[in-house]
């Protein structure tokens, strides 16, 4: 073989490799790892373990879940983001991600990720059974009579329940004394112990107390009534109709991949995800933590995340919890019109 011919051949082979790219038809060939950004046992973790179990047969490889809590989830975010965007590392996350950028924890925003939303539990406002508040209107009347005196707990600052409460403050003009707690459980305990007047968290965390009658539900953060444990809970928009314009503003748990992951891989995952959502482990997850199932992905998931990111970012910024202005990330202000 002449020297020239061999060079030509080499170039041809090289070109062929570049043009055709890696053989995506083979993806995946090795186990996939979901890095959950919170600790084991939370609903983000539970949903990812359920989907991992359910999606395995459709992808034909093992899907392993590990937890990497820390820095409000930014540790896991960075870990997945820095790794190759080859579809083998998924980022187990929730709506809590939406506040990370503006709290200076990570530089990525919704634009940088492709979301797969498994489900979420709805927000509910409850009181102790011996509370003088029989309806949500009673709470609002009392707040109007003595603004800033009625105490409320909503888990950690910046979480979805806190954001939902902030919309009540912003759109309804109601001002309560907001008391931060380290999580949903401490918030519920504070309500049960009588330290605070109103508790606003997810139905999932309150479910056993609602069933036992240890908490009385007053309103759901939604536009339609919900039936839970034999009780019909009215929507908050019955009392504060203005809130309809920010809805849906919901919890979502699931996973995400970097948006620049090869589209063929994302398509394969999307197909498997759709089927896995119908499987038994996912249903069991929904039952255990009283979660709705979404199955959102692609544009539908992106739009939801995008709209909620605006509300999260700007409300946190207004509250002084945010450290970086949402403007720096090009996040539009939803309250300006």
């Amino acid at each position: 073989m002449s020297k020239r011919l061999s060079i030509v051949l080499a170039v041809a082979v090289l070109l062929a490799v570049f043009v055709s790219g890696p053989a995506f038809a083979d993806w995946p060939t090795r186990p996939i790892n979901i890095i959950v950004y919170s600790s084991a046992g939370g609903s983000t973790d539970l949903s990812n373990r359920a989907i991992a179990e359910a999606i395995k047969p459709y992808l034909g490889v093992d899907v392993v879940v590990s937890n990497m809590p820390g820095a409000m989830g930014a540790t896991a975010t960075a870990y997945v983001w820095e790794a190759p965007h080859d579809g083998y590392l998924w980022y187990g996350t929730s709506e809590g991600f939406l506040g990370l950028a503006c709290q200076g924890m990570h530089h990525t925003t919704v634009d940088d990720w492709e979301f797969f939303m498994i489900g979420g539990t709805p927000g509910v406002v409850s009181v102790r059974p011996d509370s003088p508040y029989e309806t949500f209107q009673d709470v609002l009347d009392d707040v109007a009579a003595r603004p800033g005196d009625v105490t409320i707990a909503t888990s950690i600052p910046g979480c979805i329940w806190h954001i939902q409460y902030l919309t009540l403050e912003r759109y309804g003009g109601y001002e309560l004394a907001y008391i931060p707690y380290a999580g949903s459980h401490p918030s519920i305990v504070a309500a049960l112990a009588g330290e605070i007047d109103v508790v606003w968290t997810g139905v999932g965390e309150q479910s056993e107390f609602l069933r036992a009658g240890e908490l009385r539900p007053l309103a759901m953060y939604d536009t339609v009534p919900h039936k839970f444990a034999g009780v019909t809970i009215p929507p908050i928009t019955d009392y504060v109709p203005e809130l309809e314009q920010v809805m849906p503003l919901i919890q979502f748990v699931g996973f995400a991949l970097p948006a620049d992951t090869p589209p063929e891989i994302l398509d394969t995952i999307a197909e498997a995800f759709e089927q896995a959502m119908q499987e038994e482990p996912v249903e069991q997850f929904a039952d255990t933590v009283a979660s709705n199932l979404y199955g959102y992905m692609g544009d539908e998931a992106k739009e939801l995340a995008y709209n909620q990111q605006e509300i999260f970012a700007w409300l946190l910024w207004e509250q002084g919890i945010g450290t970086v202005s949402p403007e720096e990330f090009g996040i539009a202000n939803p309250f300006e019109d």
Binding site: A177, I179, P180, E208, T288
Partner: protein
Amino acid sequence: MEYFFSTILSIVTNPVTLAIMFLANILGIIIGALPGLTATMGIALLTGLTYGLPTEVALVVLMSLYIGAIYGGSITAILLNIPGTGSAAATALDGYPLATQGRAGFAIGITRMASFFGTLFGLVMLMTIAPQLARIALLFTSAEFALLGLFGVLISGFVAGEDLKVKGWVSGFLGMLLSTIGIDELHGFMRFTFGSPLLMIGISFVPAMIGVISIPQVLDSMKLTLPPRLKTTDSMFPKWSQFLRQLPNSLRSGIIGTGVGIIPGVGEDIGSWMSYFAARGMSKKKETFGKGSVDGVVAAETGNNAAIGGALVPLLTLSIPGSPPAAVLLGALLLHGVRPGPMILFEFPGFVQEMGGIMFVASMVLFICGIFVARFFIKVLDTPPRILMPIIAVLSVMGAYAINLRIFDVYVMILLGLMFFLLLKMHYPVAPFVLGIILGPMIDANLRRTFMVHRSFVPILTRPVSLVLLVTIVLLVLFQFEAFRRLLRQRSKA
């Protein structure tokens, strides 16, 4: 009670389950014994690994590990004066002096019995009066949490300070001060971070604990010309009569441990300190405490293991974890479709009894496994320090790194270790510092939350539990003043 016995029967008649239980328990003891690996971490790791297993088997694994880990901390506390877990720090106070007196075998044997007894005591409480006990958890609001945390730091300073009590307290406050570094829990405000993203996450207690405890020892061992060899000739099997003599002490510690375990988020660490403090207060031989008192190790170890049963009480009946490991356990239960809470007796009938059955067998297993693991660990005493200490130094670096996989934590460990190398020379004890770091955030956040809720300090004085805690704290401090004691003596004479 039928579920309780049927669970026990189904475990002991199934060789596979029983074998898994032994393995998990041994793993737990090792995790507990190694500084840097904690019960919480072990349960979290195994929660993921046992997801695919049937619920009962998964719980067998997790509970065996939990019980083993809380005991395991005492082994290294006694042998090396390096408590493997925060809850074993009180055990080291008397355990290590016992070891230096050549009674390491006895100390390890008696703590195993104390852990066994403590676990069983907590279990009995859980099985009999759990729903009623759970209400104790609701007596605690922010004011009580803050005072209880402060009380914990103060008593550890009180009992650990061999010199002036105030030195123990200074050490405790130093820990509390360092724990304020990072993002504040209430407002997300950056405190003492100087714009550094590393400081934002704050000082984790595991690297700090490893640093202040092991670095000074490693450094001290370097200057010794003749390495002290500990004799381990005595038996690891204490006589039953020796244990029976401890019965009043064990019962008291069991009650305290369980009670503290019930209080949400407090758990094993304070359980052992409170029991130790009470044992010291009731003892006729106060002067032996800190110098190798058997009462001391028994109290501390019964206290921290009894806290397990205590922590399960609010976990199962209120869905509120009583301690950090219990919080991870809550996740594991949810993972297996079990929803703990006030409805558990109706929705999952027999589940509490099943847990009780598992705990019962697990504590029996601990009684046996403890012997094997301790036999292995006790060999370290025969290892000359010039070989042992470098190994400890390496393990410390690894342990500090492993907890968050951050090299920054290793620097924190070394820096705090050097700091305490000097402070120890001035007789500032280590244990209160560690407890200060652990409890600092609880004290800080709850104290400020009390003011946020009530906008005054008056509720601290009007709520019964907080008033009792406050009065106890004030008395504890006042008693350090000779003038106050003299005043009291004159009063009693007159």
